[in-house]
């Protein structure tokens, strides 16, 4: 027992729909009006963001946690770091928990880097003497040295991030919770962060690492939890868990569908039905050739008319880098033709041209929104697919090509002098 860092049993968290995502504030009037309905029953009901989650983590483990957006990872971390109480179940945590939930939490833009180090350290639970002792080390690590007395509102986002991570990384809690901090920052800094995290683990500390970045998960963790729809689906050695995660729900022949209960009620009146990759012959397929065009289609229905709707896709590498974003009404003329989209069932389809993508695995996300009005639905990881580069430019050299795109450029070679 004594070498366990974390033990949780049947952990569950229930949210009342409407309190999720701060969709809207509850006002006194709402409460008063529900008071006079039958026994104050809330409209919309409740959902379990997390249910029946039990696991143990031995001290010194670096445990990965993966799952789609909305699977319940963040809820789990919030419970473990005591930000919110579980609705049911119990847990036991040995040691201080330091969270790196979102970089720069508690940073104040008006304060200088130096002031923010002390403030943020205190928020994360460090004593002033402890911060003073590590001050130089933190500044060194963050590489913002000469700007340390400048208000952080004048920092670039990279500097801001480095400083924030530097403070949190020097916290030295017994348990470090890291949520998706590596999604930003340049490659050099990411390497430094990963290095710092493995140091932490070597000191016998426990790390819980949440990321969509599978290569970081693979490099850093030995064991991984897969969370799906609020339940712990699998706990396995990391390579196995990542394989499972990548194959799960994704590669159903290049198609992803949504059941009614998978769509958050806030999305209404928009409801996604499916997103598909269509290869030659308009068949859904998991793998396309880079030398041939292919189509992406989003199928959805609207239960009520939406003004200014745009439905679009994100394309990302599996490491989480965006490649492009595109909406069905990007063309101003088309946008004017669909000022209001009436209720009904739709397909928005586009063609991805040949010779655009490099070989590799890609993630497709979808977004439905009205600009500056509302985002109805977003799933940044709706579907994964593979691009095969057979016949692509430069294939005579069997070397991997850098970069996510592989255009066929019109090169000319001129002789200037001979």
């Amino acid at each position: 027992m004594s070498d366990l860092a974390i033990r949780v049993e049947n952990l569950g968290k229930q949210y009342r729909i409407g309190t999720l995502n701060n969709q809207r504030y509850q006002t006194l009037r709402d409460s008063l009006s529900t008071l006079f309905q039958r026994n104050g029953s809330t409209p919309g009901g409740r959902i379990w963001a997390l249910k029946d989650v039990s696991f143990e983590v031995a001290q010194g483990t670096v445990l990965g946690i993966v799952g789609r957006n909305g699977a319940g990872k963040s809820t789990l971390l919030k419970i473990l770091s005591r930000v919110t109480d579980p609705t049911e179940g119990i847990g036991e945590i040995r040691g201080r928990v330091g969270s790196l939930l979102e970089v720069g939490t508690g940073f104040h833009p008006e304060l200088t880097g130096r002031e923010n180090i002390f403030l943020n350290g205190a928020i994360l639970g460090m004593q002033r003497a402890e911060i003073q002792r590590k001050f130089d080390e933190i500044v060194d690590f963050s590489e913002v040295g000469q700007f340390i007395d400048t208000p952080v509102k004048r920092y670039s986002s990279g500097m801001y991030l480095r400083l924030a991570f530097a403070v949190a990384a020097h916290l030295e809690p017994e348990i470090l919770v890291v949520d998706e901090v590596l999604a930003v920052g340049d490659a050099e800094f990411q390497r430094k962060c990963l290095g710092k995290m493995s140091d932490v683990a070597q000191q016998g500390r426990t790390v819980l690492f949440v990321s969509h970045n599978m290569s970081a998960i693979l490099r850093l963790t030995t064991e991984t939890l897969v969370i799906e729809k609020g339940r712990l689906k699998l706990r396995a050695p990391t390579p196995e868990a990542v394989d499972y995660y990548l194959s799960q729900g994704f590669s159903q022949e290049g198609q992803r569908t949504w059941d009614a209960d998978e769509v958050p009620p806030e999305a209404a009146p928009f409801r996604p039905l499916a997103v598909r990759i269509l290869g030659p012959g308009c068949r859904a397929c998991d793998s396309v050739r880079s030398t041939e065009p292919f189509q992406v289609e989003v199928e959805y229905c609207l239960s009520a008319p939406i003004t200014g709707l745009r439905v679009g896709i994100y394309l990302m590498s599996t490491r989480g880098e965006y490649i492009f974003t595109s909406f069905d009404t990007d063309d101003p003329a088309r946008f004017e033709r669909y000022p209001v989209r009436p209720a009904g069932r739709y397909v928005s389809r586009c063609t991805i041209p040949a010779d655009l993508l490099n070989e590799g695995r890609y993630t497709l996300g979808i977004n439905a929104s009205s600009y500056r009005v509302r985002r109805y639905f977003q799933d940044e990881q709706a579907l994964n697919f593979t691009v095969d580069a057979t016949g692509a430019p430069g294939m005579q050299w069997p070397e991997p090509r850098l970069g996510p795109t592989r255009p066929r450029l019109d090169w000319k070679i001129e002789v200037i002098d001979s």
Partner: protein
């Protein structure tokens, strides 16, 4: 460095039900965070303001001037019996000081949780720290305004006596009164943003319900009126301030009622806050 199991604190996670103990020891362990958050609030408040901390002096002084012109000169309000009319500026300033401390602390404490929602949803620390440090941030303003009071006393030749030491517990009482009400409002504001709309009106009405511009003498001494009036804890604080300065009308009974009201509001506020605390991160 390795960790031995017997050194580390153990935390138990479980659904919280019913009333939760205050756990003030936890608050003490995080006292440095109170200090840093207070310091942040002070530091940030006057950034990019040309007059900076000068506003802490200017605000009560301007109020005093307006009160003297409108209430003393035009409306003919008089200070407490026994205090020369010429001392009306000191008389009103002595009340404005604790009143503005109270108003500022109450206003900041009430909106503190919502303002720090990014902290509430990301990091654990005892939640009580947020309204505590928001209320305490007004003390620096108070200190500077207090220097003005010293100047006024010199100018109007009000004697400095040992009674002035009573101002320290009285300031504390004003702050606790603001905190007591602030705890209730801060917790309510998480769920009902109506509170935010109500607070500016509340603090203004509270000033008129306190003997700031006028003397307690205008409240009938017979019947229950003075007792009812004293349910406003600021009545006791202000009367105490004037007594410490001018040495007239000791606030004995009023002050006891004020203390009683503050204790009741504070203890209930603390428990209410702790009770609501577990839902803050989900509701804010």
């Amino acid at each position: 460095m390795t960790i031995r199991a017997d050194q580390v604190p153990v935390t138990y996670l479980r659904p919280s039900k019913g009333w939760i103990p205050l756990n003030l020891a936890d608050l003490w362990a995080y006292r440095e965070l109170v200090y840093f958050l207070t310091w942040r609030d002070i530091k940030v408040r006057y950034k990019q303001a040309a007059l900076g901390i000068g506003w802490a002096i200017l605000q009560p002084v301007l109020h005093m001037v307006i009160f003297t012109v409108i209430f003393a000169k035009l409306a003919g309000l008089k200070p407490d019996a026994g205090i020369p009319e010429a001392l009306y500026p000191v008389f009103s300033f002595a009340a404005l000081l604790p009143m503005q401390l109270f108003q500022g602390a109450l206003q900041r404490a009430s909106i503190s949780l919502v303002q720090n929602s990014n902290l509430l949803t990301k990091v654990y620390f005892p939640r009580l720290i947020i309204p505590f440090s928001a209320a305490a941030a007004g003390l620096v303003d108070f200190f500077f305004a207090f220097l003005v009071l010293g100047g006024l006393m010199l100018y109007f030749q009000v004697a400095f006596t040992w009674k002035l030491l009573w101002l320290i517990p009285l300031v504390l009482l004003a702050l606790l009164a603001a905190l007591a009400v602030g705890l209730w409002l801060a917790a309510l504001n998480v769920q009902y943003r109506d509170v935010q709309q109500m607070v500016p009106f509340l603090i203004q009405a509270w000033m008129y319900a306190s003997p700031v511009a006028y003397s307690l003498d205008v409240i009938p001494a017979s019947g229950p009126w003075r007792v009812i009036y004293a349910l406003n804890p600021m009545a006791g604080v202000i009367q105490g301030f004037r007594w410490a300065l001018f040495g007239l009308n000791p606030p004995d009974r009023i002050l006891w009622i004020s203390i009683g009201v503050v204790v009741v509001l504070l203890v209930s506020g603390l428990y209410y806050f702790r009770h609501m605390e577990r839902t803050f991160a989900d509701m804010v």
